[in-house]
Amino acid sequence: MTQDVNLKKNRLGWQPPPAFYALLGLAALLLVNWFCIPSFFEIQVRDGNFYGSLIDVFNRGAIGVLLAIGMTLVVATGGVDLSVGSVVAICGAVVAIVLTTTQFGIVVAIAAGLLAAVGAGAVNGILITWLRIEPIIATLVLMVSGRGIAKYIAGEQTVAVPPELASPTLDFLGNGHFLGLPFPITIAAVLFVVTLLVVRRTSVGLLVESVGANPSASRACGINDTVVKLTVYVFAGFCAGLAGIIDLANIGIADPTNAGALSELDAIFAVLVGGTALTGGRFSLTGAVIGALLLQTLMTTLYTWGVPSDVAPVPKAIVILLVCLLQSPTLRSWLERTLRGNRKMGSRQVEASS
């Protein structure tokens, strides 16, 4: 975390940590909710478990958080993974099909699903590292064809997992509770902490950042950038696989058409809003997680307000734009100058500086 809280003096006096603006956005949104929907903050205990809108945010946000964690490392190497939404669908379809058509049981089914997801990540990694295809194209291939693959695996239909097969394990993964909180929260939290430890307590994070900042220089330093890149795509696939299993477990139906649809874009938004630049290099896992929770808070807020789901993307886009504007150094220094100019020299200078 030392890099995350790396305060530097600059022209504006203070350089906030990368996650700062995502946090600011989240705080602003919660403040609006505090006044407009007081019930948003109510947390009750029902059947021994916590129950309330905030719990929903974390529960529904778990999938976004998982995808954002995987995406952060990919973006940090200067790449992008557009295929994670389709991998969610593939993994869900594989688990559901193995469960319903074979006798192997839930453990094998989940292993097969994760294997498929990791395999998909490996395909991305190989296309990008060995064949040198641009990440956006290489993963676009799997984004488009992946949904077709998921449909093919599922036999061109939605696959319902009957309750007697789902319980107790699969059902617990999606709807169970641990310490009074929905279990998907635990999965996302554990993955976050483990990833953070591995990335920041070992040299892994440094390797990822150096490959993202300058691949040629890091190659010259003896860093095997092929292995580093391959690893982050495989990891992104693994995260998408976990998300796919949670999604399937939550509703008990593998829906290859809708599962994870457009979630890759949400994950990229979360990463960017969290202060990681698409150009690669420095990254903030904490920021990405806050970014993902910001998006989910917004969606839950809109549903609570009763905004129709086809209009909901508009306020979402506005919030994302606002956070990105806050992050823009150009806009910030302009604001700074404007404010200062107003105070010292009057309004004529303001027009000149704009």
Partner: protein, 334 residues
């Protein structure tokens, strides 16, 4: 973008990218002539069938029904699907016309855009039957008959069932389908039409969940938190959304079917299972098994008895609730 600077790799990267992209895009173009390659020596009448091409269980059952009915009636059915694009559907119809099929069945994606191609069919004396969703054409002699489900009536039936069940008094949450789709509009308007006369029935929240289970669950979770114990009834525009709402209600610690009445439209097998389990109260059938009726009409058309066929034939919708779900569930095909 760093790789692009590296010229030795960039050319190879470009070729691979182009190959990969074309591999992805090709299948989209390949299917339109699926219907070609007819067997000319066949004496059986040839029927061209243009389907919408979405993946829902309902649509699958619909396609299956048409195929089976055509086989039973001894027709040679040529199948094309629009892959959810009107353009593909129009192309498929044109291709059927130039092959000179004996009749064409269209399950249109959209109401408009059909005039030109239907005029072509009329010039070649190929009768056209519109199935499932309607078309709007200036000259309605361009098609022989329309056969489909009455989505307006479905909303009326659902509302009437509710009025009787709750004695004209209830607070309702409505889960709407995709905005702008004709079933959504019809199922909403007709429901409102009926409850207008029953001021005790009040819609306290109305939100779109796009006919999707996951979305319906998430939307319902939010509504449950906002409206809490007020909610007495959930009216979902399709079964999938009702199933999502049921999950959300259960997680809120309430009993769907008892604490909150749930009613929906479609009549899928999973809805019947939910009714038998006591979680869903009522579903209005929207029958996809339109094949036999379509083939009956085609038979008359081919025999030249077009005069006796009404312009609009609605497949009858039935209401099922917990009282008759158990005996019906065995005979559900979809």
């Amino acid at each position: 973008m760093k790789n692009l600077l590296n010229t030795t790799f960039s050319r190879r990267a470009f070729v691979f990218s182009a190959l990969a992209l074309s591999a992805v895009l090709m299948p989209g173009c390949a299917n339109k002539d699926q219907a070609a390659g007819g067997d000319a020596g066949d004496k059986k009448p040839t029927i061209g069938f243009v389907q919408t091409g979405d993946l829902s269980d309902w649509r699958k059952a619909h396609t299956q029904s048409v195929k089976e009915a055509a086989e039973a009636a001894g027709y040679n059915l040529k199948f094309a699907d629009g892959q959810a694009k009107l353009e593909n559907q129009v192309k498929a119809v044109s291709s059927f016309i130039s092959q000179g099929v004996d009749a064409i069945i269209i399950a249109p994606l959209e109401v408009s855009g059909w005039d030109n191609v239907l005029e072509k069919a009329k010039k070649r004396n190929i009768p056209v039957l519109i199935l499932d969703r309607q078309v709007e054409v200036e000259d309605d002699s361009l098609y022989v008959t329309y056969i489909g489900a009455d989505t307006y009536n479905e909303g009326i039936l659902a509302a009437k069932w509710l009025v009787e069940k709750v004695d004209g008094k209830a607070k309702v949450v409505e889960l709407q389908g995709s905005q702008g789709a004709s079933p959504t509009i019809n199922r909403r308007d007709s429901f409102l039409e009926v409850i207008k006369d029953h001021p005790g029935i009040e819609i306290i929240a109305s939100q779109a969940a796009d006919y999707e289970l996951t979305k319906a669950k998430e939307v319902m979770e939010a509504i449950l938190k906002a409206k809490g114990d007020e909610i007495e009834v959930v009216y979902a525009h399709n079964d999938y959304m009702a199933l999502g709402a049921i999950q959300a209600i259960e997680e809120a610690g309430k009993k769907p079917g008892e604490d909150i009445i749930v009613l929906s439209i479609d009549g899928m097998k999973s809805a019947f299972e939910a009714m038998v389990a006591g979680k869903l109260n009522c579903t209005v059938e929207c029958n996809p098994l339109q094949g036999p009726k379509a083939m009956e009409a085609i038979g008359k058309i081919l025999a030249g008895e077009t005069d006796g066929i009404p312009k609009k034939q609605m497949v009858l919708d039935k209401v099922f609730d917990q009282s008759n779900a158990a005996e019906e569930i065995g005979s559900r095909k979809y």
